[in-house]
Amino acid sequence: MFALKLVADGKPIWLHRYHMDTYYGNATTVTSLKDGQIDIAGGYFNDMDEGGFLVMTLSPDGLPMHVTEYPRPLTPLGSAILSPIGMGVLDNGQTVIAGAYKLKDKPESAYVLWFDQKGMFKNGHIYSLRNAVDTPVTVGSFTIRREVGATNRIALVGNSGAVGVVRAMNEPGDQAIALLIDEQGNVSSEVSVRASGTQSTNHSNSEYDDIAPLQDGSFALLGTTDGFGAPIVNFIFSVWTPHDNTSALFNVFSIDVQAAPVPVPAVSGDTDRIENVPASKIDVTELKVSNLEHP
């Protein structure tokens, strides 16, 4: 894994690679802390399918200050693989990491982990879709986008297999889901949409890929769809106004993870490898777009 620092005008300042003995690592999410430090979360693994995820705090110069690894937690359903996808800092200083949760031989689901202001694990929850046999169904592409305000609720979006039927992603009947999670890890509001139409799913529609808060308390949602009258595949933009409700879709499991500090040395890289591209060489084309949605 590596980290690269650019100043505001794009000039590279430092480039570091981080090595873990006997493991491969990838840094999947990064967030900036108030004191100039940087938190990175990622996964580590080896050829024997062993590994876990780690959280690394870097100094403003990109050097590891402390690194904590979290091997696969053992849950009532088995050993889990947690892949970080998003990370943020709440108003109260807690760090929240969201990602994909995978049990061996079972479909993917989602999780959120809370850490206190000292970076110690506080609590974690798994959100698996409820169905007839109470097993998780496929959930992916969760994104953490909101960690704000008095409620400190966290909004996640993703896509899932149809409730009650375990499906591969992107098959007809899949649905997009968005949910709000409170500080206790409970789902306080949720919404789902199932793409209309019967088109082939070769186009990987995922109607809720990202979420952003609006000032009136609602959320903007962006994704990709081949339904709703799209000629082939288009952006789909929608607005969600959450209303508190008890989750009908999700089972929530608490999880615990063990932590261990690990040494991860940094090796400085050559910032000459960062090549300048003149702005004039980027082709910028002005376009006219309008709402394509069928009435």
Partner: protein
């Protein structure tokens, strides 16, 4: 609402400011040209498109993620197979995918762009995430 053209337009990231303007980011292929480009649409608070632009080089350019910067602009990053030796796409030269970083102003103009190239790396280099630091710079992480 549906936005794009008659090809493949994939929405990936969005950011909404305090005034309610939302900027949508993704990629487009065969809606407005033959090569895959980064696609950005700005909506006003009534969710009406204000402007839309594609950004790219001679070949395939795709978006991974976006960071809203404190100057009102955006840092876009993803993968590029373009050479950027010319703004024209007619020759369509390409090379292996490399991380591309593009800084846009609030109005969508390109302020600067960078390519990351590790010649000694056997595996493809990818950027996964970025953040703006307290000093106004940016930290990007990847594999």
């Amino acid at each position: 609402m549906l936005l794009g053209g008659l090809g493949l337009d994939r929405g990936r990231k969005l950011d909404c400011d305090s005034a309610g303007n939302c900027t949508l980011f993704g990629s487009t292929f065969k809606s407005f040209g033959e090569s895959t480009d980064i696609f950005v649409i700005r909506l006003n608070p009534n969710h009406t498109p204000e402007w839309a632009r594609t950004y790219g080089g001679t070949n395939k350019d795709t978006l991974q993620d976006v960071v809203a910067s404190r100057d009102g602009g955006y840092l876009l990053f993803g993968s590029s197979q373009s050479l950027f030796i010319t703004p024209l796409k007619v020759l369509s030269p390409h090379r292996v995918p490399r991380p591309l970083i593009v800084k846009l102003s609030h109005g969508g103009d390109v302020e600067w762009a960078k390519l990351v190239q590790f010649n000694d790396s056997k595996a493809q280099t990818k950027l996964f995430s970025a953040t703006q630091t307290t000093d106004g710079g940016f930290v990007l992480v990847g594999q």
